[in-house]
Symmetry: C2
Subunit: 470 residues, 2 copies
């Protein structure tokens, strides 16, 4: 067997996940070939009107810190301290993400990707090639074939290991799905809603038209719109709307008049900030929102899927990139343990990680409903206020589901989901049943809450204890 230092890893996809993965693998001493389907985004305009702005948070930072990039990413970040809710009556109120002054960051996918590619350029062990479309991978032999967009030439590369960081449309995953000798579980699950990117421009002086340090939400029950700040003072705005036939759908908003009517009725305050609405609405594509799950992520100790290629999730928890970067962190730990034995690395990695990416996939779908509908509802607002009060008064004792998922990067997603869901159920029940009385101190309320949560967790553990005897 070759020594680790000579092994050659071929990575498909030089997006966020692929470029950080390439960096980290090169740092570990592997030779890396990094292949990207699209042109080099530092030289050509590659994509526009298709990317929901990213929310960068603690789990993503874990991956960047591992590669020594913490200082490089901070200048690209705009802190968002909470959700700025624009209700149907035109009122605004801020719902903080945490009672511990924790926040998430708005970041441009392009800026972050450029930073990562520039870092890759500095590593002699990484060979990058653009305009290379993967047309298939032999998953038993780690041979990957690419077609050069510009020359039309086709070349097959022999690697020791092929890693697919090639996103939701992964070519490697397709090769695994089509491989005959292999039982591959696969799911693609679309929401009934699609999305379209729009924008608010900056003010003439480069300042922000609405509050800079917030994720703006217009929750409308069935639909919603969000806006995230950019460094140049603009906002990337995303409309989430049903595809389906019927009123207020991408299907029905098919004339300028229909679009304007809809915005006047649902988002009048935002409409006033969108001079290019009609052009953007027509020219920007409408894109689907889907969850991809599959298993196994690896085969024959030769290929491995990471990031969106392994687990595409909807964007509503702001964890797509963060979970991809955390993938690299987790993989890296198993390389510490088993480097040299890819089969064991891949198996152990999936064994731990799949449960967690399944959890964040499900949480992200849940959060769609929470954002578009619940944020506007009194009982949820009461819950949120109480949670923030708990976090402020007892910062080491209480963590909301949102905080467990987003800020507790020491906890696995699966554990954050388990505890977070039970907590949500407990707190809603207590509010609904009027168990929190007016004269009760915050301390007493938290104790009641903990007692209810403990009871529910106990019941679950009884069942799980039985299961785990299997």
């Amino acid at each position: 067997m070759k020594t680790q230092e000579q092994e050659h890893i071929l990575i498909i996809g030089a997006g966020l996940c692929g470029s950080l993965l390439a960096l980290r693998m090169a740092q570990r001493g592997y030779k890396v070939t990094l292949m990207e389907k699209r042109p080099d985004l530092r030289k050509e305009i590659v994509d526009s009107g298709r990317s929901i702005n990213l929310a960068f948070s603690d789990r993503g930072m874990k991956g960047l810190r591992l590669a020594g990039l913490e200082d490089k990413v901070l200048p690209l970040c705009i802190p968002m301290n909470g959700r700025m809710i624009h209700n149907a009556e035109g009122q605004l109120f801020m719902s903080p993400y945490s009672g511990r002054n924790e926040y998430i960051n708005s970041i441009s996918r392009e800026d972050l990707n450029i930073m990562l590619l520039d870092e890759c350029d500095k590593m002699p062990a990484i060979k990058m090639q653009f305009n290379q479309k993967c047309t298939g991978v032999n998953i038993e032999t780690a041979q990957a074939t690419f077609e050069d967009h510009k020359t039309g030439e086709t070349i097959t590369y022999q690697a020791d290991v092929v890693m697919g960081a090639d996103g939701v449309g992964s070519a490697l995953r397709k090769s695994m799905l089509e491989h005959r000798k292999f039982l591959f579980s696969y799911g693609q699950d679309f929401l009934t809603h699609g999305y379209k990117e729009l924008s608010f421009p900056p003010k003439a002086d480069g300042e922000f038209l609405v509050e800079k340090n917030a994720l703006h939400i217009w929750p409308r029950g069935k639909d919603m719109m969000i806006a995230l700040p950019n460094l140049d003072g603009s906002f990337t705005v995303t409309l989430f709307l049903s595809w389906e036939e019927g009123k207020d759908s991408f299907d029905s908003l098919n004339t300028d008049e229909a679009v304007l009517d809809y915005f006047k009725r649902e988002y009048p305050d935002a409409l006033a900030l969108m001079p290019d609405l009609l052009t953007e609405f027509k020219e920007n594509p409408t894109s689907p929102l889907g969850t991809i799950k599959c298993s196994p992520w690896h085969a024959y100790g030769k290929v491995l899927l990471l990031g969106d290629a392994a687990h595409g999730i909807v964007p509503f928890y702001g964890q797509g990139m963060n979970s991809a970067f955390e993938d690299i962190y987790v993989l890296d730990q198993y390389l510490d343990q088993y480097a040299g034995d890819w089969k064991t690395v891949f198996k152990a990695y999936q064994e731990e990680r799949k449960e967690d990416t399944d959890a964040i996939a499900d949480l992200a779908v849940d959060n769609f409903h929470e954002m578009k509908a619940h944020t506007a509802r009194p009982i949820f607002q009461e819950k949120r206020k109480l949670e923030i009060a708990f976090e402020e008064a007892f910062p080491t004792e209480y963590f909301s589901k949102y905080a467990l998922v987003t800020f507790r990067e020491d906890l696995r997603y699966s554990e954050a989901m388990r505890r977070g869901r039970v907590q949500d159920k407990a707190i809603l029940n207590l509010i609904y049943d009027g168990k929190f009385t007016k004269d009760m101190s915050l301390r007493t309320k938290l104790d009641l809450m903990k007692q209810e949560t403990r009871k529910m967790l106990h019941d679950e553990e009884v069942l799980e204890g039985l299961e785990s005897e299997d």
Copy 2:
């Protein structure tokens, strides 16, 4: 628009679902073409060693009764009153399916299919063709193309509506998945276990080697074997075993010696009844166990998926055929309401039905774990005994999860799942926490159980009530 009586429905697949569907549609006055990939199983041996025996029960009967076939199916049935558990110590004990003398039936897939095909032959409105492999469906125009296995000829049929009852490998579903203008959610999810069919022969006098009126189970924690009786005195035996590398897997049982060692160790009482074990083990295929989910089941008011083609489930609740027959029953009700408007029929049908087939798919996976592991465990045996006692003493008040799913054909699967799961959780908690004391009357125990269940359902309803405001 043509009147209903002249409309032409093309059905792909003349298995259990397709042939009952053809019958019912012909009874409703439609012209039906029924196309089957395989030869006519009344004339040629079509399949062997691949079919787990079927458990026919109340929901399946609903579909057959609708078509007037109740009397025709009864002679094919062998009642199974419960699970006969063969434990690792070689002891046998019977765990009844119900405290109300309810039972399920063992039935041969082939006998039932022959009966249904014979009934189709009696209907002039049904035109049946065998050896016709569907190579693709134009889902916008209801044109379906078939290749004749014997002549190699390819013909395209124009129908008003194409219904796919063509099983887990559905050609219609494939055409929907590949259709470009259409967001199709799709999932295939394989268990880590596969299965292999084996058998017990009849006694020389045609009698049964083990108890006739039971579903025999050898639960071994990780693996299990089951046996269902056939009319000729034989049993169809199915071994469920891990595919994976490692001890006791289909991978490791690759010599006669390994197979015999495994059976001697795990199933000695059964081994004594299996003279053809080694031949069958080698010659019968090992098949995967998968769940298929997809959505939508219909497109353009022109095509519809039913049965396994729409929702392939694992066999562990004995509900595969039953759910397919219930599909036909539910579809028929929407035809009563909306016949003439296929788009509305299909939409309303899926709107109701998908939630239920998703539920039975999940229940079936749960039951795999229950059968292979829980049935052998004291706390589950205690639970089961208590449930049977409740059902015997209070037959209109208590229904176990198994009874809700299997015998309460008036309840939707989704409701049976919701109530059944809460009940299971409640009863296990009460047993585990020692809340049922020795001196307590059965009535008091049931009241305690109902109180705990009500509390849990209340908590769920609080959450659901909030959700349903969406």
